[in-house]
């Protein structure tokens, strides 16, 4: 019999162990429960980074393993954030409104409460009525279900249309960019029902936990993000090991051949696309409460392109590569764009990293693509001594059999 799941995927155990140690360390060093060496805002940054690692795993599944270069997965990430954000905003506003109306002499009717909540939430876009999309905003279970269902359904419909007509390669990438752009533009409108460019805010405040300090809330979300990342990693490792993994890697390398083996390539692509959209939605639902605010700019096309850059730099086609890439690049990005990096005076010109960071990132991306296609994850191959067959030169004609140019010369 074949070895067990863990034995076939040693990286899973190592990853879980490292993640566990990291979570413990942050808990001990954070302000909420520990000694306070790590500020609450940095705990939030680390928690958000874990969510970005999770969406990077989704990207690696869909791109690194299945070969679909989706440049729209941040749309699913953002939708997940919006879905949980609606409940957070509604429930908290409801508490505030109820408190202020409680002072009134005549107890308010439910309709009055609802109107007051509406005015509070939609005042910024000049409205007070609840749009239809807010129908379930009062219910946490339903909004949690929507975190999964909305990105999943969008991916299912979009993927079905695209894969059925066999759109592949760069055309598919452009189509996914168009999808995320269209969604962002739609959400920017005030009458989209999600507060236009104001987005949803105050998401860091948990309804009903007003007396819990942010230092504690941040640790809760950090834990939730770490747990989601752990589960996501195991699920992804399960999907890519075994025969399903063989088939999707086959689709990446030669999809026509997979068809002739009798596998419905479209069905597999749709499955992976939808699954990864759901993972992205969950990651987004954990990210935005830590960020505190979500607005349509979050799902601008560029965000999804960054996601691809992280995975490429980390090393696609291996799960820990995606995690490393997302963590490394996004933390570095926070550091550079946060203005903490000293400027680089070059005499006639001073390099301000806030402006030049993107150039540096783009340049690194080009370098990695050209010279280290395996990314940072490729370094692990050096450690473990694993490398591909070193067969240089073009294949000789069939009649020369196995040899390639260089071998034949020897």
């Amino acid at each position: 019999m074949r070895k067990s799941f863990v034995a076939r995927n040693p990286s899973v155990l190592i990853f879980l162990a490292l993640l566990g140690v990291f979570t413990l360390a942050v808990t001990v060093l954070g302000e909420g429960l520990g000694v306070g060496l790590i500020s609450t805002s940095f705990v939030k940054t680390l928690g958000k980074t874990l969510c970005l690692c999770l969406v990077a795993i989704a990207m690696d599944l869909v791109w690194g393993y299945t070969g679909i270069l989706s440049l729209g997965h941040f749309a699913f990430f953002g939708l997940g954030g919006y879905m949980i954000g609606m409940w957070l905003m509604y429930a908290r506003t409801e508490l505030i409104v109820a408190e202020s109306l409680a002072q009134a002499e005549i107890p308010p009717t439910p309709d009055e409460i609802r109107d007051a909540i509406g005015t509070q939430i939609f005042g910024v876009v000049g409205g007070s009525d609840f749009p239809a999309v807010w129908t379930f905003a009062h219910s946490l279970p339903i909004q949690l279900a929507l975190v999964v269902l909305v990105p999943g359904l969008l991916a299912l419909v979009f993927g079905w249309l695209a894969f059925r007509s066999r759109v592949t390669g760069v055309y598919l990438s452009i189509l996914t960019q168009a999808m995320t752009l269209a969604l962002a533009l739609y959400l920017f409108q005030n009458d989209s029902g999600l507060r236009g460019n104001n987005g949803l805010s105050g998401l860091q405040n948990l309804p009903g936990a007003a007396d819990v300090p942010q230092s504690m809330v941040s640790i809760w979300f950090f834990w939730a993000s770490a747990a989601a990342l752990a589960i996501g990693y195991v699920v992804a490792a399960f999907v890519v090991s075994g025969k399903f993994g063989s088939v999707i890697r086959g689709i990446r390398d030669d999809e026509a051949r997979v068809r002739f083996l009798g596998y419905s390539v479209e069905g597999y692509k749709l499955f992976v696309f939808t699954l990864t959209a759901v993972i992205a939605g969950i990651a987004g639902a954990l990210y935005y409460p830590q960020a505190g605010i979500i607005n349509p700019a979050e799902i601008a096309p560029i965000a999804s392109i960054y996601l691809a850059v992280w995975v490429a730099i980390g090393g696609r086609g291996r799960l820990y590569g995606a995690v490393i890439g997302a963590a490394f690049v996004s933390l570095l990005s926070t550091w550079f764009t946060g203005g903490q990096v000293p400027d680089l005076p070059l005499g006639i010109y001073t390099v301000k990293w806030v402006d030049w960071w993107l150039v540096l990132l783009g340049f690194s991306f080009v370098l990695v693509t050209l010279f280290a296609p395996k990314g940072i994850g490729g370094l692990f191959d050096l450690l473990t001594g694993r490398h591909g067959p070193d067969r240089h030169g073009a294949a000789l004609g069939p009649d020369q059999g196995s040899l390639r140019e260089k071998e034949a010369e020897q």
């Binding site: 025969k243 063989s246 088939v247 009798g262 294949a395 069939p398 196995s402």
Partner: protein, 246 residues
């Protein structure tokens, strides 16, 4: 004898050029057939049509006892209906081991959900090992197939074809890049396979075709020029003119 595959009056043109011209062809359920013809005769295009890669402009392709039309099915449905294909250039999944290549081809439920929760049984493993034995790759199972030699890749692809347990095997130039001994082994494999299923072999090499000892169809400019035993068709004056005479 009943027919397994019946191709009738099929034509296909690429940008006005008729690659297949009113071609008719049929084969029984346990028959070995060789297709020969000069380069560009339309042999590969014929396979493309049967396997659903190319849709013909006109004509009909019927399959099996129920005479289902293959033209309404896509590539993977046709493959699941029982038609396996070996390509002219060996196409195996180079990044994956010989074992994984064979396991993927093994006749099993191909629905994503079933494949996701599939765990190989002892019987499956034994079947893969048996196939590897047959194609001479028993001690290479854990190697990445990209490391195999050209001839070994050809065999791996034949092994994957056998693993699919198709009712019809379409084999495009299987002997390319093989040594004489390997060719003989290949003919044996194909003849053995044809005892229980239909096998269509496209080949250039006359010696190879002679060893197959089967009916031969000669293709020229997209239609059938002659059909019969190898001796019969090689005596045909038209065949000599367009093919052998050159």
């Amino acid at each position: 004898m009943t027919t397994l595959l019946e191709v009738s009056g099929v034509s296909v043109s690429f940008d006005g050029f008729k690659a297949i011209n009113n071609l008719s062809f049929d084969i029984g359920p346990a028959e070995l057939r060789a297709i020969i013809g000069p380069n560009g005769a339309g042999k590969t295009t014929f396979m493309d049509i049967v396997t659903g890669k190319t849709k013909p402009d006109s004509g009909e392709v019927l399959w099996g006892e129920m005479s289902r039309s293959l033209l309404k099915m896509n590539e993977s449905q046709i493959a699941r209906a029982g038609i396996g294909r070996k390509f002219q250039r060996p196409t195996v999944f180079e990044d994956q081991s010989v074992f994984d290549n064979l396991l993927m081809a093994l006749k099993k439920d191909r629905a994503p959900w079933k494949v996701l929760f599939y765990r190989e049984t002892t019987a499956d493993k034994a079947r893969v090992e048996e196939l590897a034995e047959e194609i001479g790759l028993a001690d290479q199972l854990q190697r990445k197939s990209g490391e195999l030699s050209h001839g070994q890749k050809q065999w791996l692809e034949i092994g994957m074809l056998l693993a699919q347990e198709p009712r019809l095997l379409l084999v495009d130039e299987p002997a390319a890049g093989m040594t004489l001994a390997e060719r003989e082994h290949t003919t044996d494999l194909l003849k053995e396979a044809a005892k229980t299923r239909a096998v269509v072999v496209v080949e250039h090499d006359m010696e190879f075709v002679r060893r197959l000892e089967c009916r031969v169809t000669v293709l020229h400019e997209g239609s059938v020029l002659a059909e019969g035993s190898l001796d019969h068709v090689t005596k045909n004056q038209q065949v000599i003119d367009v093919y052998l005479g050159r």
